[in-house]
C-alpha cells in the first residue's frame, strides 16, 4: 500500500504542499484544496449510496427475487462507476467487486470470478439467484469495506484530477463495445455514471483554468453537452434502454466524444501543474 493512503484528510494541504517542487505548484495545490474537499464529499456520498443500494440488491438476491434483482443491477452500479478512479485505487476490492469474466483464464467458469458481473452472469444467463448467496454477501462486505477505506483515504490531487480522463479511458476501452455489461446490456447506466463522475471533477477544477484557457473549457463542455444529448435519447422513466438499442450512428458519435474528451482531459493535470 502506498504511503499516501495512510495520510489523514487533515494532512491533505500540508502533504501536497511538501510534494511541490516550486512556489507556483504550491499555489495551485493550495487552490486545489477546496475542489478536492468537495470531491471527497462527492465520493463519500456515492460510497454511502453504494452500500445502501447494494444492501437492497443483495436482499433481492437472497429473497430469490430474480426480476427485482435484475431491475436493481444497473442503478446499483452507478455510484461505483461515478467514482471508479478512486475506487480503483484499492485494487483488491476493485477486482472482487467489478472484475469481468475475461479477467480470468476460465472466464465465467473460473472459481475466482465474483462480484457484480458474476451476479449479472447468473441472473441473465441462468435466470436464477440460486447459488448466489455467498457471492452476494461478499459483494456487500466488499462495498462496505470500500466505503470505510475511502473515508480514511487522503485523496492524491493528481489521481483526482487525472480521474476525469481515466473515466473516459474506461468508456473508450471497454464500455463503448458493450462488453462491460455483456449479459444485462445495462451499459448505458455505466456510461452515464462514468460521464457524470468525469464531469464532476472537471466542474470542480474549472474555475482554476477557465481564465487561462477559455477555449479548452468551452470545447470540453461542448463535448459533455453532446454526450448528454445523445444519452438523453435513450433514457426511460427509471433509467436507460438496453445497450443493444443504441444505433451505430449514436455509437460513433459517443465514441468520437469520448475519445476527444479522453484526449482533452488528459491535459488537465498538466494544465494545473500537477505531476
Amino acid at each position: 500500500m502506498h504511503a499516501w493512503k495512510a495520510l489523514s484528510v487533515a494532512a491533505l494541504a500540508f502533504a501536497i504542499g511538501v510534494g511541490s517542487a516550486n512556489a507556483k505548484q504550491e499555489d495551485i495545490t493550495l487552490e486545489l484544496v477546496e475542489p478536492l474537499a468537495d470531491y471527497k464529499i462527492y465520493v463519500a456520498e456515492n460510497t454511502k449510496q453504494l452500500v445502501k443500494d447494494t444492501t437492497a440488491f443483495v436482499a433481492a438476491i437472497k429473497d430469490g427475487d430474480v426480476e427485482k434483482a435484475k431491475s436493481l443491477f444497473g442503478p446499483t452500479r452507478t455510484s461505483y462507476e461515478k467514482i471508479e478512479p478512486i475506487a480503483e485505487l484499492f485494487s483488491d476490492l476493485d477486482v472482487s467487486i467489478d472484475a469481468r469474466a475475461d479477467d480470468y483464464e476460465k472466464a465465467e467458469q473460473d472459481p475466482d470470478f465474483t462480484g457484480f458481473h458474476k451476479i449479472e452472469y447468473v441472473l441473465w444467463e441462468k435466470d436464477t439467484t440460486d447459488g448466489l448467496d455467498e457471492i452476494a454477501d461478499k459483494l456487500l462486505a466488499d462495498v462496505t469495506d470500500l466505503d470505510k477505506r475511502i473515508n480514511d483515504l487522503t485523496f492524491p490531487p493528481e489521481k483526482v484530477v487525472g480521474g476525469a480522463a481515466v473515466l473516459m479511458e474506461e468508456v473508450a476501452a471497454t464500455k463503448i463495445s458493450g462488453e462491460e455489461d455483456r449479459y444485462s446490456h445495462t451499459d448505458l447506466w455505466d456510461f452515464d455514471a462514468n460521464f457524470a463522475g468525469s464531469k464532476k471533477i472537471f466542474i470542480l477544477v474549472k474555475p482554476l483554468i477557465v481564465e487561462d484557457d477559455p477555449e479548452f473549457v468551452a470545447k470540453v463542455e461542448e463535448n459533455f453537452g453532446d454526450v448528454d444529448e445523445t444519452l438523453a435519447k435513450y433514457k426511460t422513466d427509471d433509467g436507460f434502454v438496453s445497450y443493444e438499442e443504441l444505433t451505430d450512428e449514436d455509437r460513433t458519435v459517443l465514441s468520437a466524444r469520448v475519445n476527444t474528451l479522453a484526449e482533452d482531459l488528459s491535459t488537465l493535470r498538466g494544465k494545473l501543474g500537477l505531476d
Partner: protein
Amino acid sequence: MREEKPMKKSQQATPQDETVSANRRQVLLGGIGLAAGTALAPGQAFAKSTEEEAGQGQVAEAPIAGKTVKQRVPFHGEHQAGIVTPRPANGIVASFNVIADDPEDLEALFRELTARIAFLTQGGEVPELNPKLPPADSGILGPVIEPDKLTVTVSLGASLFDKRPWLRELKPKQLIRMAEFPNDALDSEICHGDLALQLCANLQDTCIHALRDIMKNMPEYLVLHWMQEGNVPVVQASAGGEHGTARNFLGFHDGSANPNSTDAKEMDRIVWVTEDNGEPDWAMGGSYQAVRIIRNFVERWDRTPLGEQELIFGRKKDSGAPLDGGKTEFAVPDYAKDPDGKKTPLDSHIRLANPRTAKSQKNLILRRPFNYSNGFTKSGQLDQGLLFIVYQADLMEGFLAVQSRLNGEPLEEYIKPIGGGYFFVLPGARDRDDYLGRTLIEAIRSEPSQQAAEGL
C-alpha cells in the same frame, strides 16, 4: 504435362543430380527422396554472406535501417501520392466513421488531415511540450520523424455521402457500397466506412506512427471502423534494375501484368478520373479505390500439386512466366494461339482477369496489394491472405467487370473475400495553400440548396 513440370524444375536446379526418371522412382519409393536428394545442406550456399552481414553487437541494439528512411515522396500534386508511387514494403488500410454534421466540420476535418499528412510524409522534428502534459507525439520513431517513403492516401466511402443530405448530390457516380460476390463471405465489422486512409512506407512502424498520430490529433472527426495491416516480401535488387513483382502468400508473383504506372498518359486513361468519365467536376484527378481483404487458405494451397497451382493461376510459380512460353513474368501470353486453353486454361486466374482482347482493354486496373498475416483461426489454421487494393478511373469497367469475370474461377476454392470496401480517392492538394477535399467543399458551397440553407 502436369507431372513433368516439377521434375524439370528440380533437374534445372541441380543439373548434376539424378535423371528425371530416377527422381520419379524416388518419389514413388520414398516420397521425401526428391527433396533430400536436391536440397542444399543448411546454410551451404549462403553461409558466407549471412555471417558477414549479421555482424556483431548487443542483442538489444536497434536493427539498422537502410538509407531508405530518407526517401521522401512529395505530398503536393495534381493527384494524391500512394497510387502510382512505387509500392513500399509495408502498408495499412484504415477505415473510419466520420463525424461531420455540416460542411464546416468536413472542411475542418480535411484541413486538419491535410496538415497531419503533410507533416508526417515530409518528416521533421516533433514539437516539445511541457513535460507535465502528454507528449505531442507517440515517440515511437524518436524525436525526429524520417519520411521513410510514407504516403497517406485519403478516400471517401459511399456512406459519407449517403448519410448527409448536403453531400448526397455530389457523390461520384459509380461510388457504391460494396456488394457481395458469389464467393464472398463479408463480415460487416471489416467492411465499408466513410473515409479510408491507405498508409504505405518502407517500415511498418512508420505506418503505425502515422496512423496513431492522425487518430490522436483528430478524435472529434474520425472513429476507427476497421483496419488491416499488410506487407510484401522484399527482394534483392537485380543487376538489370528490373527485379519483378512481389509474391503473394500463395507464392505467386502478383501484379505482373499491371499497366505501366510511370506512363502518365496511360494512368490518365486507366487510373485518374478525367473529363471523359462523366464524374462531378470536383472529382477530377481522383480515382476509384477498391479494397478487398481476401483470406487465403494457405495450408490447403500448400497441399495442392504444383502443376495444378500453376494451371489455376495460368503462370509458372518460380518465374511467373505465362504457361504458353516466355522466361519471365513480363512475357505476354498469346491467347489467340491458344483458343481452347490447352496451354493456359480458359478459367485460369490471369486469363479470366485479363483476356487481352481489344474489348478487355477498357477493364485494365492498377493493382497495388499487400499480403496480410493475422495470426490464426479457431481451427488452428493460419489466418493469412491478400489486402487487395486496386485503382481505376471507372469502377464498373474496372474492378467490378474484372471480378465478375472471375466469379466461379477454380482459385475460389482457396480464397475467401471477407472484407474491404469501395472508396473514391480525393484529388491531390496542389500546393501549401491547398487542402485535400477543397474541390468537394467548394462544390458543396456552390450547390443551390446549400446556398439557400446558408442564406446566400
